[in-house]
Amino acid sequence: MAGTAVVIEENNQHVWSGGVAPMKASYGKLMMWFFLLSDAFTFSALLITYGLIRFSHPAYDGSVENFVFSSEYWPIPEKVFEAVPFLHGMELPLVFVGIMTFILILSSVTMVLAVEAGARMDRKGVEKWMLWTILGGLTFLGCQAWEWSHFIHGVEITGKDGVAFFQGAGLTSNPYGPPNFAALFFFITGFHGFHVFSGVVINFIIFYQAMVGIFEQRGHYEMVEKVGLYWHFVDLVWVFVFTFFYLI
């Protein structure tokens, strides 16, 4: 049993044939970096598309207090995203998305702590911090699910005949602003949410592998480090989505 582990270890050392790893990084870590670079291009393209479409629409130039939703101009995000679960009818602009941001940053911190524990061969530590990271990711996904359902379910609008009805956002129309506003919301936060989801799944696989002792046999916890890179990237993208979609 122990012999198998030794063989794997030897193979790893010859992965780069020359015996020395280029850029002092392992093959897997380097490829993860290049994958993340390509993923960064994808997200940049999406966010820049948001910029392009936003700049091609008129901006609202009145005061924030008198703002009303209209498809004539781009909405002010803090007027759109102001709902918090269990606090129905209260205007709490950006509070919920702020909580989501803190959750994701914290899960990134616990991921660093998992990587640090892995470097010390501390299985208990890796298990503990990976579990916190998974929990953070799941909480974030839950928050996003609520935000989407609220966005789709919509806001109460009183029609010309005095009858109130709900109008929600879809890909072709929304009560907040130009149709593209909601379409971009679904695309950008959806694509990010899918990354969070896949990150949670991969985190869970790594947590399981650490738990059954695969990395201990292998002699190192580099997989935790690689998955950590992916998870930090997801956090990094959210930092940009938060600024460009919700703040500006």
């Binding site: 049993m1 670079l37 820049i48 091609s56 803190f102 702590l113 046999q217 956090d235 600024t243 500006i248």
Partner: protein
């Protein structure tokens, strides 16, 4: 099993842990500042500039410390960072293009 490999857990380096939490604190503080700015400063190019500067500051901490890129070899750093110049290029031409579309439509 006839051969039991001894796994030696190394002791915790307190300084390292402290540094991780310090970076976490900085990230939290910058986010809080962004929140304050969102409600105190009126919309305008100054506000936008502040937001972008703070975002890049946060991104620097995440990439450099959490992703450890700041401690990698220079060649690795550059092969990740230099291609991002294309993104900066794309931002400028696409914002310009957006304004051009606006001019045509209105």
């Amino acid at each position: 099993m006839e051969q039991q490999t001894q796994i030696r857990v190394q002791p915790v380096d307190k300084k390292k842990i402290q540094k991780i939490w310090r970076v976490a604190g900085i990230l939290g503080a910058i986010t809080t500042v962004e929140f304050i700015i969102a409600f105190t400063i009126g919309a305008g190019s100054a506000k936008t500039f502040l937001f972008i500067a703070l975002t890049i500051w946060k991104a620097f901490y995440i990439v450099s410390e959490f992703m450890h890129l700041g401690h990698e070899k220079k060649s690795l750093k550059m092969s990740i960072l230099l291609p991002m110049l294309f993104v900066i290029f794309l931002i400028f031409i696409m914002i310009y293009q957006g304004n051009a579309i606006y001019e045509v439509l209105n």
